[in-house]
Structure formats: C-alpha cells, structure tokens
C-alpha cells in the first residue's frame, strides 16, 4: 500500500479540484485524466463529493490517495468502456426463430453468422470455433457423426458454434481434454434443459445457468462431456451464506462489471463427476490483462500481431482445489471473407 500526494490539478493524471456542495460547504474532488481504450480520446473525470471522500486522504500537508485505489478506478473505467465498445458494435434485433424457449424476446443477436472465433493460449492458436452454418463446420460435423452419429440437431440455432483444437508444445490442450480430436459444439440462446443436465447427472444445486452450453465430443475415447456455464451471483460468490454452491476463484484482473458478464464454467463427465479445472470468464482491456499476466508470471495469451483485433473475452482455466491458474485464454472474433461485420 503506498500513498501518493495529489496536486490541485485538472490536467494531471490524478489530482484534486476544489468545489462547494449544495450547502456551500467546500470539498475536494478527485480528478482523473484517462485515455479511452478504443477511441484513444482523452477523458477528464471528477468524482462526486461522497466518492471523493472515500478515496481522498486529507492531511495537514495536503491531500493523498492510495495508489491502488486510483489505479482500480482508472482500470474499472477502461474495462467498462471497452465492454461498451464490444456491446454496441456487433448486434442487431433477433428474427423469428433466432432465440430459444425462455430467452427474452428483446435479446439481441450477432449481426452476422459469418464469423469465427480464434482462441489463443501462450500466444498460440489452440482452437477455432466456426459458426455452424459455415462450410468450415461441415467436415467437423462429419468427424463427430462418425463416432456419435446425429447426436444433436447441430443447427437448431443458426448462431451455434462448432470448434476443434490444435495443440502446441508450449500451449498444450486445455485440461481435461486429452487429444485434438475433441470437438466442442455450442448450443446458444438456450439454457441447458433438465434432460441434458440429467444425462450428465448434474446435481441441481440452484445455479443460474447462462443461455448457452457446450457438449464436448472426444472422438478418440468416444466419450462426451457437458460444459455448463454458470452465472456469478450470491449463490456462487457468498461462501458464508451459501457454502454448498460457492465457486472458489483465483485472483482476477479488474474487469467490466456489467451485469452478468463475469461467469464460470464446469465440465461434467457422463457419470456426473466434474473436472478438476474450472473456467472463469471476464472482459477487460488488453493493457489490464497484460499487467495481470506479468504480475502473476503468466503469458498474455494473444500474439502481438493480433493484440488490436476484436478480443471479446478472456478466460482463466484453474484448479478448483489449489486455485492455480493453468491456462490463460483469449478469444478473438473475426468475420469470414464471405460476410460483412463491424
């Protein structure tokens, strides 16, 4: 913990400014100058009386603040603005049939199905997820069907995704996957049905599931796994009140605090056992993520040549018992050459 002395300044990176409240009582405001993570515009901000009081430390010789508090406020603003950019650049209203049962009708959907996602670990491409309607998805469906037959209505939603893996010596497969012949089918705009949860013997502990889930097809072992995606809420975050549903999590970087955008995933085997590795997902800026990785002696997942691409989410794969972070994942979305996007 280190305190920094603040100058009266509206132009410094961090400073204070004088004001009076509605009762004409004088007070100091915390001021910040920040750069927008996307537009690179300069923004000047003043915190209100109450928030400033929480951060500023008034002493006889001047006004101070904890450097960590100031850094948190700056990073939180940047992460939220980055998330705002993601939200407002890619979406349109749904058409009939776009959304599954129980999904609110005013839910937005991607502008285009002509997209694919690249997943990076240790700066290496480890997985590519194709929209289910793209020609690249067709051979993947065929590979899955050779072993599992028509296990699902793969295209039940036009935004569904199918992906497969690439392993590198310095970017091994995400545990517990054992080989690159594993295929991930994502069924989106649909919560996992009770029938599906029963198929994988998932206990009903009261989690709120997100409106997508994945089935992992291991075409070598012939086994399936369910990846259930779980919202972070009081039941998963408050150990004192809900010890049975609490999900332990490692330290994470400052992330966008928009509602519902911090979540977990668990992988279930067909016998109901769960993998030792959990995922935690969040959205933040590349600068914040890089700093976090450096601090934790982890490798920032995105190669330098792709850092300015559309990184829409990061994931940490961690051991649920030790909280050791085993992988840092970064997801980038791209348009295909067939389609327009952004």
């Amino acid at each position: 913990m280190s305190e920094i002395k603040l100058k009266k300044s509206t132009s410094a990176n961090v400073g204070t400014s004088f004001d009076i409240d509605h009762k004409d009582v004088p007070f100091n405001k915390l001021t910040l100058n920040v750069v927008h993570p996307i537009t690179k515009e300069e923004w000047y901000m003043e915190y209100n009386k109450s928030d400033s009081k929480d951060v500023l430390i008034e002493k006889e010789d001047g006004v101070y603040a904890e450097e960590a508090d100031v850094n948190y406020l700056k990073e939180l603003w940047a992460a939220n603005e980055y998330h705002n950019f993601l939200e407002t650049s890619t979406l349109v209203a749904p058409l009939d049939g776009d959304l599954g049962v129980g999904v609110p009708s005013n839910t937005s959907v991607p502008k285009s199905t002509n997209t694919y996602d690249e997943v990076y670990v240790n700066k290496k491409l480890v997985r590519t997820d194709y929209n289910i309607g793209l020609h690249q998805a067709k051979p993947l469906i065929e590979e899955v069907e050779k072993v599992f037959g028509k296990d699902q209505d793969w295209k039940q939603n036009k935004f569904n995704i199918l992906g497969t893996y690439t392993a590198h010596d310095d970017a091994p497969l995400r545990p517990p996957y054992t080989n690159v012949k594993t295929y991930s089918w994502y069924n989106v705009y649909s919560k996992p049905t009770q029938k599906l949860l029963d198929e994988f013997k998932v206990k009903n502990v009261g989690y709120t599931y997100k409106i997508w889930h994945s089935i992992k097809y291991n075409t070598v072992s012939g086994k399936k796994q369910l990846k259930a995606v779980i919202s972070d809420d009081e039941y998963t975050s408050n150990y004192q009140k809900h010890p049975d549903t609490f999900i332990p999590r490692p330290e994470v970087p400052v992330y966008s605090v928009r509602h519902g955008t911090f979540f977990f995933a668990k992988i279930f085997n067909e016998d109901g056992t769960e993998a030792d590795e959990y995922d935690v997902f969040f959205t933040t800026t590349k600068d914040i993520m890089k700093e976090f990785c450096e601090k934790k002696e982890l490798t920032f997942p995105i190669p330098e040549s792709r850092e300015d691409d559309f990184i829409w989410i990061y994931g940490l794969v961690y051991d649920k018992n030790t909280l050791e972070i085993k992988q840092v994942k970064g997801y980038i979305r791209y348009p295909t050459e067939e389609g327009e996007w952004l």
């Binding site: 300069e42 209100n48 979406l91």
Partner: protein, 215 residues
C-alpha cells in the same frame, strides 16, 4: 442574463434577473429577489451575495422510454432509458435508438450549462438490476468548469439532485465533444415503460424540471 460577477450591481439588475420588469418598484426583501440568492425573508445579505446569480431555468419534459439490448458472449443485457434523449450517438452506453426518446420544450439557457444544448437527460440502467443512473449530457464545444455557474441543483419531478453529488466527465478534445453529470440512484430498473423509474414518471407523462444556481 445572470447578474454581474463583480463591480457595481443595482437592485434593478437583481429584479430583472429575478423576472421583474426593468424600472418597476421592488425591494431587496421581495421573495423573487431573495430567491436568486437563496435568502430567507429578513435575512442579512451583502451585495456580494447577488453577484453572478441567475433565475431558475425551467423545462417541461414529455417523458420518453426506450430499451436497448446487447449481447457480447451470448450474455444479454437490456438497458432501459426513461426521460429525454435527442438522438442516439453510436458507441455510447446511453445509446437508445436513432430517433431518441421523449421531448423537452427548451434545451438551452444562456445562464446554465455553459449555454450548451441538452442532449440527454434520462435514467439509464439494466432491467431488473438494483441501482441505476440519472445522466445529464450536454453538447459542449470544449472544456467547461464543473461548478455552480453550470447549475447547483436540478429538481426533477419534485426530487432534488445536487451537482456535488454527481460524478462529472468530459472529452474536450474529441471530435464529438460532450460533458456529462451522472447520479447513482437506488432502486430496481423496471421491465416495462409503465413501471416506476424515478425520478421520471411513466412514458408520456409531463414532468417539470428546474435547474437552479442559487440552491
């Protein structure tokens, strides 16, 4: 036109700013003159108390309502807006729709908000979530100073919001310059245009808004 900020000041200048006719009879203890300096009847006052004072800026808003749903990682959030939004600048988190929502009968006053146009004055929050924001955005043409010459408080539909309780931000060097005040409000964002979303009334209601510099 606000009263002078220094130098000679006459009772007539105070009276005119308070809404009286120039040259008409008045006294320093008249309620309209006291109001611009926030003085009670019979209170002591100095001439300095009447420097840089302005009459209230009153607006009538026909309340609008709108939603905007977004999804990034298949996670959808629906934001609800209630109040007035002139247009919908792309890429801002107060984007609603291209035609905006609601209307106001006056959007500019020489003595308030740097004489800039009000672009957005509405609540903004995620449906079903506790806590939301009341946001005021003006189209500025450079940096403005966040002090009582912009406004000291604003009364919306009977509820007072003090400027000092709002966070403030601006981007004076951007192509699309704006200045913005944001208040945090406790309460749950409704899921329909008829649901309660204070301080504004339901969609279509007529709400009084008063910007004040003296109190």
């Amino acid at each position: 036109m606000a009263t002078p900020s220094s130098g000679a000041i006459s009772l007539n200048e105070m009276h005119v700013e308070a809404g009286g006719s120039s040259g008409s009879e008045c006294s320093i203890n008249d309620s309209d003159i006291r109001l611009i300096a926030n003085k009670s009847s019979g209170a002591s006052a100095s001439w300095n108390d009447y420097y840089d004072r302005a009459a209230d800026f009153g607006i009538t808003m026909t309340v609008g309502d709108g939603t905007h749903s977004t999804t990034v990682d298949y996670t959808t959030t629906t934001k609800r807006f209630r109040g007035f939004h002139k247009t919908s600048p792309a890429g801002t988190d107060h984007s609603t729709n291209p035609n905006g929502i609601g209307s106001i009968n006056d959007n500019q006053d020489a003595d308030y908000l740097g004489n800039y146009v009000i672009e957005f004055f509405a609540t903004i929050g995620t449906q079903g979530v506790s806590n939301y924001s009341l946001r005021l955005v003006i189209e500025s043409n450079g940096a403005i100073t966040n002090n009582d010459t912009q406004f000291k408080s604003v009364v919306v539909n009977g509820t007072t919001f003090n400027r000092s309780d709002a966070s403030f931000s601006q981007n004076p060097n951007a192509d699309d310059k704006s200045s913005m005040w944001t208040w945090t409000i406790s309460g749950t964002v409704p899921t329909s245009s008829s649901g309660s979303y204070p301080p504004f009334g339901v969609s279509g209601a007529s709400n009084a808004i008063t910007f004040r510099r003296s109190r």
